[in-house]
């Protein structure tokens, strides 16, 4: 049993590279392949690499309904978030120095905003509703005359809820404010058409969509035209927005991964939804199991549940045959549970008890059924060990207990 690899249910953390993608990438590395520098203009090695990079750019643009000239290659979604937020804030700071974002954003957005605060910008961090979704009235109320940028992720990485970016974009556009969307978790899961969506900047990652790690892209709208101050200086690659020799094998991998996503996402999402629903159906037969985040406005592959009276890290330890992630950050010195779940107003107990399951391309029905059995027996075992479960069984209201925090 232990020699077998665990069941992988952490596709929201990263996905394996699709075999077709790996094959395509390999053709751009070795001497026999197209290893040239796409910036080399004086020989065919460079032209060949450049052509492939531009085809990949078209594939990425095609998945999201953008013009290829609106795609800037980066090292990943974190760099794309940094370039979008710092780049726009720096470029437009004469217009204003106020930014609005949400507390459930990825750290790549939140930490970038913190850095801008240190530089003198003001940032408003909005609370989402208990469903995880943003109340547009609250967003509207937070906008000021000196607001230059709003940054809201489309699909939350922990709870998988989908924000209404069209409505948010209509609001920001009517106020002349730039709108950045972190879409690292969106590609291949949500239909995107940037030719219609009122979005100015959008971050992408390859490795959440069966492409390689280490590559991503930023969409920078041309109509209306958005300007950015470069964060990486050098040879002026990517129209001066992001210097650095392009990595054709990574880029070709992202292009191929996004091509596959475009062709297969319809059928794939249907299958993932079936698997996810089967998992939830199996787990929710237990008492005191709660779903985190809205079930309807949610990507197909994500399930985030709290198993009350069981601590998340110990549950993960019991689930060593399943690769999942916990909202409990007990491994960090802070003992802080998931900031995302706390922002939804979840009790600390439930935040500590949460597990994120994310299913993907290689998940099978058998794995789901096995997971249901393993989780059920682990939760039962840990509840037998839990003084909180015992008190709950005795009818004690845990909220009435005076705990001594340490």
């Amino acid at each position: 049993m232990s020699s077998r690899r665990p069941i992988y249910l952490d596709y929201a953390a990263t996905t394996p590279v699709d075999e077709r993608v790996a094959e395509a990438m390999f053709r751009f590395m070795t001497f026999g392949g197209a290893f040239g520098n796409p910036a080399s203009r004086s020989h065919s090695f460079g032209w060949e690499a450049e052509k492939a990079v531009e085809e990949a750019r078209e594939q990425v643009a095609a998945l999201v309904g953008a013009d290829p000239r609106e795609i800037v290659w980066t090292s990943g979604a974190t760099e794309a978030d940094n370039l979008a937020i710092k780049g726009a804030a720096h470029f437009y700071q004469k217009k204003g120095r106020h930014i609005v974002t949400v507390k459930t954003e990825h750290k790549a957005v939140l930490d970038t905003c913190r850095q801008l605060e240190r530089e003198g910008f003001e940032v408003t961090y909005l609370d989402p509703e208990p469903s995880g979704l943003l109340d547009l009235n609250k967003l509207e109320a937070a906008l000021r005359n000196d607001t230059v940028l709003v940054s809201v992720m489309q699909v939350n990485n922990e709870i998988g809820v989908i924000q209404d970016i069209e409505a948010i974009g209509n609001l920001t556009r009517s106020r002349g404010i730039l709108f950045h969307v972190d879409a690292a978790q969106s590609t291949g899961k949500v239909h995107l058409d940037l030719s219609k969506l009122p979005v100015d900047l959008m971050s992408f990652s390859a490795h959440k969509t069966y492409g390689p790690k280490g590559v991503g892209a930023l969409y920078v709208s041309r109509k209306p035209r958005v300007r950015l101050e470069a964060q990486m200086h050098g040879g002026g690659h990517e129209r001066g927005m992001r210097s650095g020799t392009l990595a054709p094998h990574q880029i070709i991998g992202m292009g191929e991964a996004f091509r596959i996503a475009r062709e297969e996402m319809g059928a794939e999402n249907e299958r993932l939804r079936m698997l996810r629903d089967r998992l939830w159906e199996g787990l929710s037969t237990m008492d005191e199991v709660y779903l985190n985040g809205d079930l309807e406005r949610r990507v197909a592959g994500n399930l985030n549940a709290s198993f009350n009276f069981v601590e998340g890290e110990s549950l993960i330890m019991a689930l060593k045959d399943i690769a999942v992630s916990s909202g409990s950050a007990c491994t960090s010195a802070s003992l802080e549970p998931s900031y995302v779940l706390r922002a939804l107003g979840r009790d600390d107990e439930l935040a500590h008890s949460s597990i994120r399951f994310s299913v993907g391309r290689y998940t099978t029905v058998e794995e789901i059924d096995h997971t249901i059995a393993l989780v059920t027996s682990a939760v039962e075992k840990l509840r037998e060990l839990s003084p909180l479960w015992e008190m709950h069984q005795e009818g004690v209201d845990l909220k009435s207990v005076e705990w001594v925090a340490h």
Partner: protein, 141 residues
């Protein structure tokens, strides 16, 4: 994170899981921690007339290291006098289980739990506590 073999052993085969009758005058109960912090330990000891711990039981809500710390502690305190059990230091638990620095608080909690159980037992036996102290669910750290 990687756990030591001893933590895994205690986690997979926890010793002395369960509850003793907290109304029994020979039983001392210590409950420490808070759900919001991610760990709660309940440790109970049964003390004989000679002042020796005859039995110990625990229940823990917390990570694997917290479960292992309390499981180990129940093994250690059995057969010890209250004085000996009260002298157990968190550092001994941390060392035995090879806890990493971020998990030291688990051993601290275990030390707090045995101290609280001993205190609870002493309160019961030495003198009848004043009425306003009779809060069976009040927890002490």
């Amino acid at each position: 994170m990687a756990y030591s073999d001893k933590v895994i052993d205690h986690y997979e085969n926890p010793r002395n899981v369960g509850s003793l009758d907290k109304a029994d005058p020979h039983v001392g109960t210590g409950m420490v921690g808070a759900p919001a912090c991610g760990d709660v330990m309940k440790l109970q000891i049964r003390v004989n007339d000679a002042g020796v711990i005859e039995d110990a039981r625990f229940k823990t809500y917390g990570c694997g290291s917290a479960i292992a710390s309390s499981s180990l502690l129940t093994e250690w305190v059995k057969g010890k006098t209250l004085e000996e059990a009260g002298a157990i230091k968190n550092t001994q638990i941390a060392e035995e289980l090879a806890l990493p620095p971020v998990k030291i608080h688990c051993s601290v909690l275990a030390e707090d739990a045995i101290k609280a159980a001993i205190e609870d037992f002493r309160k019961k036996t030495v003198q009848a506590p004043p009425a306003d102290h009779e809060e069976p669910r009040r927890l002490s750290a």
